[in-house]
Symmetry: C2
Subunit: 615 residues, 2 copies
């Protein structure tokens, strides 16, 4: 973390971890494992804690870079690879998923089938190692090592001395291998598989690796630091399930009860815990309790669970915040500037446009209140705009609900429009697939709300008396700024209006230039854009309206680009002519300024009204 280099700005999370480390370091209970000589060499005072969030922030304290062998913590990761290689059904035929309540080295084969009860006991782990694909034992183990390296985000190696020690003393595990072969839960010679198992236990990691490996499981199998996939997302829940019920040997029930985070421990003193979607925890301290779990490791996880409220079964109530904002087209218009009559009409009609800004993760529980709300509002809705800009993810369940909703509302002659949906390819796939044939066109998307709102407004105005022909041409008498000019007065100013025409796509005003004139639009349509490629549209004008008057008034440089949307005809009035005209016809200048004030006041009232939508 960058902030480590700025002593004044140490994160309170770092402070908390250091305090916790200090507190738990005082506990000297338990003993280092001695069942193989190499493990007995560990320094009992080693102690590291590492937390890694599913977004990839790493917090670590103590001996987090001290190497040790992964031991039983290898089991869930190899189980994940076995699932990828064989699928769930074939894997379950070889190894069960029931907790035993027995110790780690129990043989625990089902009396009838000879199937090991679960993959976290040695028998199950050896059967799992037998499921890893590969032509030779060496290539099978190579795949395991590569997978572990993906989880850790760095190339891992085997501690060869520990491996030899494991292999030399592993008679009980060899017995298990033969027993599994006897029940056909291993194919061929069990010896190479037992050796693979000894090797996977001897992979050398450090406490930081454990934290990152845990965070990879928390992040749907994707290492949050490297962005690389270590396990297909669909199998993560299965790996976590066996950790949840069988991960802490015969302490699994109490663990879930008191800590409530799927975890796995190893005899070398490591504990790895995963809070799905949130964070991974790695702890390393070699002193073990009678169950074979790290004393400090358990203590740290208990404290973290309690202080950080991590218990998996204590989750806040979902769904209340999926709707970020809801407003109607009457509260907030598109940037298509309307005539006063159109505006008044839309303030009534556009209540039938309902905009929902959704946010967060769309899943069943978060979408249910949205669907309910939409159905409750459906009667008053003609157009439903679903803005997905702030939606972080969408699962199939939410996709099904949205699809059903579109069909249902279509049946009631209501139209659903999606905006900002490009980052959710699953939605498009599901909609296209499920709405195939005559409904294919029902998946209507717009890049942003503004265009969607405009589309709806156009349809609402289409059937009113304000609907104009596409090629409507405004005469100077129609120009809104001359609204209170008499025919005679119009004749006075008309000679100053210089006709101009522009081609579709042509720039009429460029940001940064000096403002020397105001434009009156006679035919076609122009739009105002923020400067720069892909700049946001600020406004669209139609015949009769004027544009460019803001810079004309305050003498500032043009702040936006104005572009012809179509073939455009307009008149311009230069600042110079206007000022001369004002001197000779002050009463008309006053009329014009009054009309301008009126126009600006209207725009300001609208902007202020729209600002309240966001409060």
């Amino acid at each position: 973390m960058k902030i480590e280099n700025e002593p004044k700005l140490i994160s309170p999370i770092q402070d908390f971890l250091e305090h916790l480390h200090q507190q738990c370091a005082a506990n000297d209970d338990g003993d280092v494992a001695t069942y193989i000589p190499e493990l007995a060499k560990a320094d009992p005072s080693w102690f590291g804690i590492c937390i890694v969030t599913a977004n990839g922030a790493v917090y670590e304290v103590g001996d987090t870079r001290q190497d040790f062998t992964i031991q039983s913590i290898s089991k869930p990761f190899v189980y994940g690879l076995a699932l990828e290689d064989n699928g769930r059904a074939a894997t379950l035929e070889r190894v069960g998923v029931e907790p035993t309540g027995d110790a780690f080295n129990s043989i625990s084969l089902d009396p009838g089938t000879g199937r090991p009860r679960n993959p976290m006991i040695n028998a199950g782990a050896i059967a799992t190692a037998g499921l890893i694909a590969g032509k030779t034992p060496a290539s099978r183990f190579k795949r395991i090592l590569e997978t572990f390296s993906l989880y850790a985000g760095r190339p891992l190696k085997v501690d060869h001395t520990v491996y030899l020690s494991e292999s030399e003393t592993g008679h009980r595990n060899r017995a298990i291998g033969h027993m599994l072969r006897n029940f056909d839960k291993l194919t061929g010679d069990p010896a190479p598989t037992t050796e693979i198992y000894f090797q996977q236990c001897s992979i050398s990691v450090n406490c930081r690796d454990l934290g990152i490996m845990a965070a990879t499981l928390a992040n749907h199998g994707v290492n949050p630091l490297t962005g690389k996939q270590a396990l297909r997302g669909e199998y993560v829940e299965s790996v976590l399930s066996v950790m949840g019920t069988c991960g802490m040997y015969d302490y699994a029930g109490e663990w879930l009860y008191h800590v409530g985070i799927p975890a796995k421990s190893g005899v070398s003193g490591g504990v790895l815990a995963v809070l799905p979607g949130q964070l991974g925890i790695g702890v390393f301290s070699p002193r073990l309790d009678a169950h074979g779990n790290s004393v400090r490791g358990i203590r740290v996880c208990q404290e973290l669970s309690r202080h950080l409220d991590l218990h998996l079964f204590n989750r806040p109530v979902a769904g209340k915040s999926t709707i970020r904002l809801r407003f109607t087209g009457a509260d907030f218009n598109s940037s298509h500037v309307r005539t006063p009559e159109e505006s008044r009409t839309l303030r009534e009609l556009a209540k039938a446009i309902n905009v929902y800004q959704l946010q967060g993760h769309l899943a069943f529980a978060t979408m249910e209140p949205v669907v309910r709300d939409i159905l409750e509002q459906a009667e008053a809705t003609t157009y439903l705009i679903l803005d997905l800009k702030r939606v972080l993810s969408l699962n199939e369940s939410a996709g099904h609900l949205l699809h059903s909703l579109v069909g249902k509302l279509h049946g009631l002659e209501k139209t659903v429009l999606f905006t900002h949906s490009d980052h959710l390819p699953l939605l498009r796939r599901m909609m296209k697939k499920k709405l195939a044939g005559k409904y294919a066109e029902l998946f209507t998307t717009f890049p942003d709300n503004d265009l969607a709102l405009e589309w709806c407004e156009e349809r609402l105005l289409e059937n009113t008396r304000y609907a104009r022909a596409a090629n409507f041409r405004a005469k100077p008498a129609d120009y809104l700024l001359f609204n209170n000019f008499s025919r005679g007065e119009l004749e006075l100013i008309q000679p100053l209006l210089q006709p101009r025409s522009f081609k579709r796509g042509q720039n009429i005003i460029s940001a940064g230039t000096d403002a020397q004139e105001v434009f009156f639009l006679a035919r076609g349509s122009v739009s105002v854009f923020l400067p720069g490629e892909g700049g946001r549209r600020l406004a669209t004008f139609s015949p009769g309206m004027s544009f460019g008057e803001m810079a004309f008034i305050d003498g500032a440089r043009r702040s936006a680009d104005i572009v012809a949307d179509t073939e455009v005809e307009c008149h311009l009035l230069t600042l110079e002519d206007f000022q001369k005209f004002g001197k000779t016809h002050p009463a008309l200048k006053i009329k014009l300024l009054e009309q301008l004030c009126l126009d600006l006041t209207g725009k300001l009232r609208k902007a202020n009204r729209e600002l309240t939508v966001f409060e």
Copy 2:
């Protein structure tokens, strides 16, 4: 649900449930329990499904109003009451929490201690019933029945015939009672406790009740339909933990693996499943499999889990969406209207005001990215405004982080301000307690962002040359609208300016009245409020500024109330005088209108800029 009455608007969720019901109804596997004669009378075709969200939406299909006895599904609810009566430690002394992998009627006492392995097997449930407080067996059972009624949201009753049948045939359970007494896991005569156990199993419920009871656990122990607390929130995770590891008899491991939702089944055919924070599921179908679980009940839960993506270990990544919006005081000002010089100064200085709008549930994983972002921005920040308006909940862990952050930033001479924090009493409690003594004043709160922004702006302006004395008095020459008037011109208009003074708190303009004048503020401060009690502040003006000009221009009625914040002196100019003046001094009217256009243009530019903050 209201929508049930509007056939066209059936929720897609209801459609899905009906489809699922139809699909699973085709399965006739399994047999009705016969171990007591009364259960054998059940109609094997009964089949109901009910989903209740943690927000209280109910979806049901099939035989959801058919009564049946709750049987083993009573166990987790009685366990919750035992936890409330005895606390966790004393309860754990009597009953463990380890899964057994054994069948429901196994005795499974720990060889050494005689402690039943968990509260979901009969032995554990009887020991749990022994923990319920009360003077007499009748009053102990009455408390159980009342608690169950709170969960269901309606008064429940015992099915007396079933109870008699249970009691008549319950020899095995009586044997267990005596065995528990032998190990001192029950006190006194075991017989009354065994009878309580028979009664709790005989409580009559329907499938809808199961759904609501499950949703109550999903909603932290509060019935989402009645709002009444059935179980203290702190014990919910413990009840769900034993359901998670031991709830489905010897099928618990596979259940968590395949369905991934804590659940409990009963021999009468009920299944109750709880997705914490999200929803509760109740299913009823009396045909059982060899484990004693409802065949269709399991099938329905599997399908729901798969189609609605409910597996507890498959959660989206948290924390990315906690920051709803971040902006600086330069992007968005308080509604305190500034002079052009002040505005220019603030556009630079106010970059040091950093506003974070937070949203959703504040917990460790959701706050971690916020804390990190704040620390990364800390160098450029002098004032940090944390807007908690859209924060739905805050847990202790988030409270600790916020507290540490305030202290840390204070050490760097930075100020943290909280807005909209009244709905989070835990935050206030934690801040007051932890910041006791010299830091007590560090918990600075404002009712809204506008006031907090204004407070910061005032402090930033304090040290600039634009700082004015509190009693500064503007002369007509200082009035911004007369900005380009010469001294001689000022003398011409000055006679039309009528002095007025107002007391602090007095209404200067009332919404809804006709606009006949524009005001010029000479001394003091006035604020514009939306009409109505507690109306939002729209603007605050200081000496030299004018107000009331918008309605003055467009002739609309006053849209807001304007109130004197202090003793106020001002001038007013009536519409009538202004129009007369315009006729005689058109050049001055033009100057005034030009200045007004300039002022409106400035305000419109600001409003448009502020609108982009929310895009």
